[in-house]
């Protein structure tokens, strides 16, 4: 691993952010996500030394290893509590959380609920390839009904869990979605997510050509729409003419639920509430609002 120092005078480059060649399958959507993140970091001039990528377990869990920032590849389902620890004590850092559909919605489901409810300041990326891939093709909470996996070989039994509806229901302050094969759109989503103060939930449709080559037809555009609005996220430049565009005001929660409930896929900003209080800020404010005491006198109240 070559640790490279980035000269702040010089513009950060993709090469600066490179660590090693990712060990993902050819055609894996994770390449696109990590590349979009790097481009976003360059465009928004994030300093790699002040940036931490935190992940759980799974193919997505490897992402931090491939970006030359600080990184923490944690345990399965738990990147949210780790990130919260960092954010609580180091609000100076840019924290990105990388989590798969199994990691975030199954084993780590509880943390997702409470991360969203606490609204601590981070960008949360849900890599949704609709199955467990690193463990070799098992049904995940978002596997579409009927898709055969090694654990449900006759076809997955249940309707997939609707992640966007779930997080809207929990009360997420920022809910957006994009796809690994739309670098321009994903970059715009990351930019908006990063600028939001709070828990920015970003759902990313991620291809898994190895275990489910049919999950997202990235060559066709008929199956999805873009959401856009003056307060929203611009449509993908490359696809602007080919895709249906829906005007949606991201401050309208009711409309956001309706869109999330529809059977059609929508990419863009579903919901944004910039005013929801952040738990990490509340806890830090508690210190600034409390008169600081010297430890020398800590036993005063226990004196007999």
């Amino acid at each position: 691993m070559n640790v490279q120092t980035v000269n702040p005078e010089q513009k950060l480059t993709i090469k600066d952010l490179h660590t090693e060649n990712p060990r993902w399958c050819i055609g894996c959507g994770d390449f696109g996500i990590v590349m979009a993140l790097k481009r976003f970091m360059i465009d928004d001039t994030l300093n790699p030394k002040d940036t931490v990528n935190v992940s759980g377990i799974g193919c997505s869990g490897r992402a931090p290893n491939y970006v030359n920032t600080y990184g923490l590849h944690g345990i399965h389902g738990r990147p949210i509590p780790i990130s919260l620890g960092l954010v609580l004590v180091r609000p100076d850092l840019n924290v990105f959380v990388h989590s798969g559909d199994g990691d975030a919605l199954s084993i780590g489901g509880n943390h997702l609920i409470h991360g969203i409810n606490k609204n601590f300041n981070c960008v949360f990326l849900l890599y949704d390839n609709e199955l467990y891939a690193l463990t070799k093709s098992q049904t995940s909470p978002t596997t579409r009904k009927g898709h055969a996996t090694n654990t449900q070989p006759s076809g997955s039994y249940l309707d997939p869990l609707n992640a966007i509806r779930l997080v809207l229901g929990i009360g997420a302050s920022f809910v957006a979605s994009s796809a690994d094969w739309m670098p321009d759109h994903l970059g715009q989503v990351l930019d908006a997510a990063f600028k939001h103060k709070g828990f920015s939930f970003v759902h990313i449709s991620q291809r898994c050509p190895h275990f489910d080559p049919n999950n997202f037809d990235h060559k066709s555009t008929s199956w999805f729409s873009f959401l856009t609005h003056e307060k929203g996220i611009p449509v993908d430049k490359r696809l602007a003419d080919k895709v249906e565009v829906v005007q949606h005001d991201p401050s309208n929660a009711e409309a956001a639920f309706k869109i999330a409930n529809s059977s059609r896929v929508h990419f863009g900003l579903y919901y944004h509430d910039p005013k929801k209080p952040c738990y990490d800020q509340i806890l830090r404010d508690l210190i600034t609002k409390t008169e600081q005491k010297s430890r020398k006198d800590m036993f005063a109240k226990f004196r007999i």
Binding site: M1, V3, Q4, T5, T19, E20, P48, K49, D50, V52, N53, V54, P64, N65, N68, T69, Y70, G71, L72, H73, G74, I75, R78, I80, P81, I82, S83, L84, G85, L86, V87, L88, V89, R90, D92, L93, N110, H111, I113, H114, L283, R284, L286, I287, K289, T290, E291, Q292, K293, R295, K296, M298, F299, F302, R303, I304
Partner: protein, 601 residues
Amino acid sequence: MPTIQKNISRFELLMDAGFGAQKAGDILISAFAKAGKYVYIEPLIPAEISPPPRTRPALSGVIIRVADFDITNIGNDTHVMLASHEVVLGRRLDDNETNPEAIVLLDMGDKKDNEESYEQLLKRVAKMGLQVIPFNIDEKAQFLIKAMSGKGTNMYYLGMLTHLYNMSKETLIKEIRHTFKKLKEEILVKNIQVFEFGYQFAAEHIPLSIEVPGKPHGQEQILIDGNTSLSMGIIDAGIKLYSGYPITPASSIMHTLAKEFPAYGGIVHQAEDEIAAIGTAIGSYFGGVPAITATSGPGLSLKQEFIGYAASAEIPVIIIDAQRSGPSTGMPTKTEQSDLPAVIFGSHGDNTKVVISVSNVIDCFYAPTMARYIAEKLRLPVFIMTDFLTANSYKVIDKPQINEIDDINAIPDFVFERFRIKRLPDHIEMVRNSQSIPGTEGGMRRVTGLNTDQTGSVNYFAGSNQRSHEVRNEKVHHVRRALTVPEMFGPSEGDVLAISWGSTRGALEEAIINCRKEGIKASGMHLRIVYPLPLMFKEIFAKFKKVVTVELAYGDSLKPAPLMMLLRSETLVDVRSLICRATGRPIRPKTIKEKIQELLR
């Protein structure tokens, strides 16, 4: 009525939960301590909040041991019992901790509706040969208690105990005023009146007065329980984040810190579950900010994966395990020491960690400092093991020295000496060469639970994984080599060496003192760092004919008790169990002495 002089006395106040037995006890012991007497208090706490009154699970109370010399444990048995009714008394008699000459004061107020039950209990007490003094709360007091919706009986009993233990009424009134300073004056006055009625009643009707001498010794003293002491120790150690999930008996640490921590720049985070709680502590420490989590049995099981992760990723973390009776939910408000194997060997794969134990409130105060030093030097998980007894027992102590630690290199020598360890080498090899924290220019690095080489790059080659094991274990070996001879009671040779850890220290020390008074060649040894063990045990053990352990954990002739198993496996010496009981009650000094005598017979 003559006052009996005693240099030590143990008494109990037994009531239904929610009627303030512990509060009354707290007031009395503050007064005792100010009068220069030494006290040790064990609260009896039900596992439920408000079990139905007049049922056995409703028993709530305090055991107070008061002496004219420093005491280290709750002792053998009780000399005076004051019970609010026959059910709680009967429940407590089942624990077999009553002195054969004990005096029982029994409130007969419930008798008219429970004739039969009272008769049976009185018969039982008579059969045990105990002296019973039945009494009724006088009418004037009854009237006031009714006016306070049935509350206030604890003040009546407090008044009785104040007279019984020959304390000044005025001192106690001052204490009551201090304790209830937030109460409305009118209610406070009623409480004080009830107290005075109780005092007066005892003066006129209870033919018993005990005087335990004491003289104020000048030093600044504090009254503190184990978990509060741990909490203040966390602040003194320079830890800045506490992350926990509610669980008995660890919760009171979070309660104390929730009130105290912000004033010292600390954050208390109540996590969504036990796993998240340790995850957040690890995240903080990865960011370079010292963090701690605390839990108890079930939570310990849940945290295991993250503990292994911290060792592998080389992120320091401190975990307090406040042990209770297990397995599973077990007995949440009873004490036990059965978590030792789960702590030392818990988490899958090879385990590298250090385990500190606390035996009293002073250990509790310094343990977080010691834990921080080791955790940060080695970048490994460090445990602080306490238990229900240590967590909840109060003691009056001379105010401990406050160190205001920020830099671990500034920790004074006496803290190392307390835990019988020398400072670790300046340079300790890590699996990864760089341990830079986020924000450090040019230090960008990724940590992972996967095996890596020195550069931090994921590596599955045989040599690399073996090296990682060696490096992690060498960290623990550094501690092994730095450990000095543990605390000893009695000479370093003799017929029997009894070994304790954690909360059994006080009982062992007292038992050894009493053994030696009778010429029994018994010594004691107490471990504060329980894992790893120092390297000289074989030589120490060789000077005794028998080496035994004293543990509040289950063991029998076929199942080795945890500490005994550990000592055997590490030394190949034929260490046996002297006591390996898991009843939920503390080990008594008397029992240890009797077992030693039996062993030497």
